[in-house]
Structures are given as C-alpha cells and as structure tokens.
Assembly symmetry: none
Homo-oligomer: 541 residues x 2
C-alpha cells in the first residue's frame, strides 16, 4: 500500500553537508536533488538561503533548472530574532525570497539553549515561534518546525518543550519535528517522548535523529512506531559528527520491515543505484557495509554459509537484495558480475544469452580492469565501449590514429603561466597536427584534440568537458601508484563520463579524452547511428 501521507524529508543538502569533508557546489546540489526526487523522497531541504550565499544561489537556480517530479523543496532557516517584528527580519525575508513551497524553521525547545545560546526569555522564544510561523503561513508557505534539542529539552523541562510544540502547531505549522540534535538518545527514550508529545499536544510529529549512540535509524523507527508521521534523514547518513539517520536505511526498513510503502516498491529498486550516484557526486566514500545499499550489504564470505546459500539463499539473507537494487555476492566464487553485465548488455540492446561465453569474457575483463583501479559507475561511456568490444567483436576501427602528443605548462618570472599542447594524429591516412591552449594540461590536450578532429567529425563539436577528477590509488604518489581520471561530459541534453587509469596522470587523462571521442563517433549521436537505447542507457547510469 503506497503511503502518500507519510512525509519523507531529506536534508542531505543542508544538514548532510555538515559532514566533515563534504563540500557541494550548486551544480552538485542540483544533481543530488534530482536523484532524491527520482527515488521518491517527498521533501528536499536545499539549504539556508540568506545565511549561506551558495544556498541562496541554489534556490535561485532551482526555480529555473530543477523540474521535480515527486518532491517539493524546503528552505531551512530560523525563527525571527528576539525583540523585533517578524516583518523586518532579513533572514525570514530571505526564506520567503527562496520561493519554496515549504519552509522549515528551526527553533529552540530546550530552556537552557533559549537562555544561554539564544539569550532571550522563554516567553519571547515562544512569541518568536508563533509570529514567524504565522508570518510564513500567511505568505502561503507550508511550515515545518524543527524543535531543536527536543529530547534533552524535554528531560530538563517537559512543560516548556510541550509548549513549543503547541505554539508551533497552533500558529499553523503543519508538522513539528522533534530533533535529537546531540544524538545522545536511545530508542526507548525516543519512543516514550514521542508518544507523550503526541498524546499531550495532538500535533502531527516528525523525527530528526543523529547517530552519536549508533541508534539514529533505530530512534527514527521507534518514533514512527510511536506515531510520528514525518522522518528526516540524509543520503548515506551524511552529517555532522557521527552523521544523521541514514534515510536510505529508514526507507528500506519502513517498506520492507513495517510494510509501509513510503516509496513505491518499484522505486525502492533504485535505492542502491541512487546511493552510488550520490557517492559519486559528493566524492565522499560511502560505507561498503551500509545496510541495504552498501557494496558488501549482501556479501557472504563464511564457508559455513556458502553451501547453505546454494540450497536456499533466503536462509541466509534477511531480505531479497533485488528489492533494494542490490545483489548477493559470495567472495569465494563471484558469479554476480555476470548477471549485471547481462542486464546492462540487454539494456544496451544486445541480445545476449544467459551465461554465454561473451558475457563471461566481459565480466572477467571488468573484474581485471577494476583490480587495476578502473571504476565504471560514473564512466558509462567507457563501459559501453568495453561492452561493444567484447559483445560485438571489437568497437569498430576508430576513424583515426594517434601518433604523438605533448603538453607543457610554464610560469615565467613575471608570473605569467602558459599551457600549450600539441597532437599529431592520422585521419584517413592523412597526417594532422594541431595545438591548443588551456587552463591546465588536460584542457589544453582536449583543445588540441578537438582542433585536429572537429573539422573531420562535426558531431564532436557538441561535446563539452564539464568536470574531471583525479584520484591517486593505492598509496604513495610517485612510487608506482596508479592515477584514476574521471571526466564528465555534457553532450547536448545528455551527460556521461569516461575513465582512464595510468601511472601517469596525463596519460590517464588522455585515455579518458580519447574514450569520449570514440564514444561519440561510434555511439554518441543516436539520430545518426540508430541506437537510441545505447545512448539513453549510457546516460542513465
């Protein structure tokens, strides 16, 4: 049964970015929002407009560029400052200027925080909550109130904590979210406090947990069991200190363990893929042991289990991994790789037989390349080239050959920096040389490559190199370690990526640049080559 009324609220873009090492550009934030929307999350908190310039910019761009199908955006901010009318509070005005359907207000509900952090009176804090909520509701916003430090506050002064909930609800807040801000609670306490708060106030209650006792997910489940109708969390549990509740785990637990379809079953199958895509966007390694979505989540190593697994997998797994888009792996004999390659090949329009030799060959090749440091999760174009090679007997002769290339960067004494590259290619037997400048060796090589090829292959002019990342693999730079280069392209409406691995970072980059050109010439322009499924599948990864 789909549960439309339950509020799944993601705060990856706001509270999640408090995680150490997690820094998102506006572009990244838009891309994460699209992924969460596609998964079926109902509310996406985009940031704090007015307080964080990047977040103001996010909401501005979201209005034009973010075409959400399931979710609505929420702007996060605080109640008005003490002692001023809400109508003159610049921060509150910035919340309205974000033009989101939802505004989520954070408010103090712990008397100690009101007095020592906010430095105002308990009465004024309630007045701030009431007037700010009414002001926003009057302006047409749906308002959620995050009652900060609620659980600690409840233990210090229950009456005041309840008064905060009542005040917000009476002023028109749609949901009052009880926050375990310091993350110190355990499930039995959360359950009791949520139950009491619902009983005493009758307000629709939400829950926001942190993982400082390792119980963020359990606390969230306990709150929902006690009647909460709104759960907040973040992708992979990103967040400050020990992180927030992992929204992916909460979603899977609610659907699979409680039978509450907070996202439809068919979207739940995108859970693992969504997790991988967001990991690529944030650049923050997610835990391979993460429940449901982790690479190891359904991976078996035990000899004890291995034989029984063959008899009946259900004896040794708590749910079918396919339900969350993950798969069972056994570390003794990894049969898993083949089926995903089969699946991907069919997605790409190849008619492959189950267990065929070519699929086995492609799987072995992928495994071998991954051992050398390749990663195909966001390098879909390189993956398509590999599949074509194995499944279709070679990628077709590339319509040009590379003779040599060179690139140099120099800084003169006066501070001027010059970057220049040259390439020598052979196109249709004819020698072609070209040079290019750029903001670094990769960009200069890319410019030179296009300068040589674009006159022959106009399809290449569409390509825009939008991002590249270099990662040094396994140990120390300069001592035989490999570098992995991931390059992202915009190709008309589509986005896809390539990968290159080499000891030398520039050689690795060159390989990724060439893959992109090959991909466009062999597969890219769907209208010219009649393989729309290929191009579409490649960009969906």
């Amino acid at each position: 049964m789909a549960e439309q009324s339950f509020q799944l609220y993601d705060t990856t873009l706001r509270d999640g970015t408090q995680q150490e090492g997690l820094v998102l550009t506006v572009e990244d934030k838009l891309a994460v929002a699209r992924r969460l929307d596609a998964l079926g999350v109902g509310f996406i908190e985009g940031g704090w407009p007015g307080a964080v310039p990047k977040d103001t910019e996010f909401f501005r761009r979201a209005r034009g560029e973010l075409d959400l199908k399931n979710a609505v955006l929420a702007a996060f901010g605080a109640t008005r400052r003490p002692g001023i009318p809400v109508s003159v509070d610049a921060q509150v005005r910035a919340l309205l200027d974000a033009e989101t359907p939802v505004v989520t207000l954070v408010a103090k509900s712990h008397t100690g925080h009101v007095q020592h952090a906010l430095r105002t009176t308990l009465a004024e804090n309630l007045a701030m909550i009431g007037s700010t909520v009414r002001h926003l509701v009057h302006a047409g916003r749906r308002v959620f109130l995050d009652a900060e430090h609620y659980f600690d506050g409840y233990h210090v002064n229950r009456e005041y904590a309840l008064a905060v909930v009542r005040t917000a609800a009476e002023a028109g807040a749609e949901t009052v979210v009880l926050c375990d801000t310091n993350g110190g609670s355990l499930p039995d306490e959360v359950r009791a406090v949520v139950a009491d708060t619902i009983a005493m106030t009758g307000a629709p209650i939400g829950i926001h947990c942190h993982d400082d006792t390792g119980c963020a997910v359990a606390n969230t489940m306990a709150a929902v069991d006690a009647g909460a109708v709104h759960a907040q969390g973040t992708a992979h549990g990103y967040g400050e200190r020990c992180g927030n509740a992992n929204l992916f785990t909460v979603i899977a637990n609610l659907v699979l363990k409680r039978g509450r379809e907070v996202v439809p079953l068919e979207r739940l199958r995108d859970l693992s893929r969504t997790g991988r895509a967001i990991t690529e966007l944030t650049g923050v390694r997610s835990d391979p042991a993460a429940p449901y979505t982790g690479l190891s989540a359904f991976t078996h190593k035990a000899g004890l289990h291995a034989s029984a697994l063959r008899v009946d997998p259900d004896l040794y797994q708590h749910t079918d991994p396919a339900r969350v888009g993950n798969r069972m792996r056994t570390l003794v004999s990894d049969m898993g790789g083949r089926s995903s390659i089969e699946l991907k090949a069919r997605e790409l329009g190849y008619d492959v037989a189950a267990g065929s030799e070519e699929v086995a060959r492609a799987a072995a090749r992928v495994k071998e390349l991954e051992n050398r440091g390749y990663s195909f999760e966001s390098a879909d174009a390189s993956f398509v080239l590999l599949l074509r090679e194995e499944l279709a007997g070679g990628p077709g002769a590339p319509p040009f050959e590379v003779d040599s290339w060179a690139v140099g960067v120099s800084r003169r004494r006066d501070g001027e920096v010059r970057t220049e590259a040259s390439v020598r290619l052979r196109v249709d037997g004819e020698s072609v040389t070209a040079t290019g400048h750029g903001n670094g060796p990769v960009n200069a090589l890319d410019t030179a490559l296009h300068s040589a090829l674009d006159p022959y292959f106009p399809a290449l002019t569409r390509l825009e190199l939008v991002d590249y990342q270099v990662r040094v693999l396994n140990g120390q730079v300069g001592s035989g370690a490999a570098a992995r280069v991931l390059i992202s392209y915009r190709d008309g409406e589509q986005r896809w990526g390539t990968v290159g691995v080499d000891e030398n970072t520039v050689t690795a980059s060159w390989a990724a640049l060439l893959d992109a050109v090959h991909y466009v010439l062999l597969d890219g322009p769907a209208e010219a080559h009649g393989s729309p499924s290929l191009a579409a599948a490649a960009t969906a990864g």
Copy 2:
C-alpha cells in the same frame, strides 16, 4: 559501579574477520587480543580451532605468548555431527585441544535450518546440543551456546527455539546467546523475544546482532534492557555483510547512557585509542563517523553551533569526549563564520579575544577564499598559514623565492611517455635550478622543488606526498572555471594537507606544493620553532 558479572564478549577475531577485505595473520590476532584485553573486555573469541588452521595455530601460540590480564579466551565451534557419539567427533576434540577456559558452541535453533541446512531431525539437533555441552562441561570448560538464527527461528517455531535454550541450559551451558544471524530484526522485536525467552526458560541470556537494518547496537541495547547478561560484538562493528554490533559503541552506551560500568571508567578513556590501534592492525579503514571513537565523532562544522559551543560545549555534545578518549574539533567552513575561527585559533594555541578585529579579518578572508573555491576542511596546513598571516601579522618571510617553473609531458610515436619539470628558485639571494621527473606534472614539479630545496632545508626530506585530488569547480572546464587541488602529506607520524585554487590546474597544484613547504619551514618542526600547540593541533585534523 563496576559490573563484574556482565559478560562483554568480543568476536572480532572470528566473526569480525568475515568482513570483506579483512585478513589477519596470527601475529595480528595476538596483537588485537592484547588491545581488547587492555580495554577490559571479558571474553575474546579467538577463532575456530580444527576448522581453520590459522585459528588452531592462534590458540597454540596464545598459550605461550598471550598474557591476558582481564579477558579469557574462547574457542568457537559447532555441536557434534548428527548420529555419532560426541567423544569421537574430531571437531569437538579440536575445541578441547585449544585449551581455552571457554568454548562457545554454535547450534541451530531455527527448524528450517535444522532440516534444510543441517539435514537432521529436530530431536537429533537437541540431542547434539545436550551431549556436546555436557561433554565440554565435564572436561572442565565453561560453555556458551550461540543459538544461531534464533529470532527468525522463534517466529517460525517458538516452542522449538525455546527448547534449544532449555536443552543447552539444562546440559550446563553458562549462557545461551540469542543470535540475529541475518540481522533483519528491529529493537522492539528483539526486546520482546529476549524478555519472553528469559521468562520461559530462566536461562542466562546473551545477545549477538548484525547490522543489516542499521540497528545492531540498538538491538543489543534492547536485549540488555530486557535482561540479557552477555553482549557480543566486534571492534568497529567489523563483520560479514553490514557487520556485527560495534562493541565499542555498545560499551560506551552501557557505561555512559545506562550507568552500567561494564568496563571501569578509567579504561573507557582508552576506547578511542584502542580503536585506532586496531584499525592500524587490521588495515581496514574505520568509519570516521563511528560513534564515540571516530575522528569526526565530536567534530563540529555548523556556525549555528560554533557560537553556542563557545558558551558551553555541553550544550552541543551528548557526552564529554574525554570520557572515551576522544576530543572536540571544529572545522572551518563556509557555514562557520567567526566563532569557528575563534575556536580553531584557540585550538591552535592563539590567545584571541572573542569578537576581535583580527578574527573578523581572518573570517572574512576564509569566506572570500571559500567563495573562490578554497576548502580548508582537509587542508589544515594551508589554514594554519592563513591564520598565522592574519593573527600573527604575516607568516614570516618565506626563506626562498620562486622565479619560474615549467613542466612538460609528451608521448612519442612509440608510446613512450616522459614527464619532466624544472624550477628556478632564489635561496638566500642565490639562484638555484633543479629538474625532476615523475608520474605526471604535479609529481615532477614536486620532485624538482625538493631537489632544489632539500639540500638547504633538511626538514623537507621527511615530507611524503601521499595523495592528491583535483576537482573542477562550478561548471565547465576551460571556460574560466577554477580547479581546486587538495594534497595530502605524510610528515613523520603526522598527516596533513594543503589546498590550491587556480584557473590552471598545474598552478593550483603548485600553490598547494608551496604551502606544504612553507608549512614545514615555518611551523612543521615543532622542536625548532617553539610552537608545539600549533603543529599538534594542525596535524590532528
């Protein structure tokens, strides 16, 4: 109050090694056991003698080499095979040969597993449990019984699951451990099943959980709340699939949240250090966001929090990090503002006044640099240089100047790739040139830079460049976008990082390379420059 009677049981060396990527030598296992013993764990399960040769060897060497102060060793194994007398079962004999005070027997308690995996009758399974327990008790062992798949089994056939517990207890098992082997349970179910099992059997009950719903710790706490007197877990939650219950988190929760001193308070202060030591031994990266012990567990980034942290740290942390041997850290970021800078400056040993002008200046500078793409969260050395500049009136003249540099990468027709850099510096007024080769432009420039400077500044020879990352910021490469380069260094025992931002990736890298050199020359060798707090704080990030 110290609780001597509660059984803390670690299975890192057995169930923990089922974790993907975790492989321990006998030497490693001995070292891990010593750490766990020093922490105050009561029982250390060393492995499965007879079944795993390495484990047989572990127990043999443990007898001579492992001088445990608090813990006793447990050997893990199975009940006798169906249809044979226990006295002739080779695997059971190997358990006795391990000569441990404790033997932990795994037994089936799920009727489906008895019939389909073990392929025997329900009655014979009970007979196997009874005879094996009696045999071991008669031989002078303390016996724990791990009732595998207990929670799933209880739901399928409660009477049989309870019969397993009764049979083991009546045969002399000291504790019967209820295992959520597939990890699919939630805390309310665990609590109810444990309570019912205790009520129906009167046996001393233990708990063994896995994290497949993200609730392993909460499930363990729920079982203890319901009366379990024995908790199993692993260091860092290592284990198959999503891992086991994190024993460190369980210990800290029991002591700090339940007031049950399952280890003495003074040993709890070793928790984080024990975690780091075990991470070094396993080589498996532990989660920086792990509760209590993680590097980020008490790390704050939010500006909202940072200002209140100054007033009273207890407002924003659920426990004093010193109690688990961890410490509070603040990160500098675009959410931080002045309060984070003040906090960070004090961490670094600067005596800055709250709201002082220099702090405001540093905050403005950080904000401006972050708008341009800088990120200081993992570039602590660059941040220290910036703070020195703003707070201490300039970083001191760097002891050398840069005249020019150049780097080139070329690929010849035969495929050979050469990377060569040259630098021209001025040291003490003297012109110095050097060249360097490498696996890419950054590595070659680094080699050339050190080749020029190391003879003058021997402290620089310690520096190892261990990782670098390049990220293109805001949009399209080559169209005025900036590149951010983060470089990580190993500097003796310490690790720290620098950042550079520029349109040109190589120029950005050069800036980060130079920051590292300046950092070492100005701050790095604490003994030479008399600023130990600076160096220590900077490297802790």
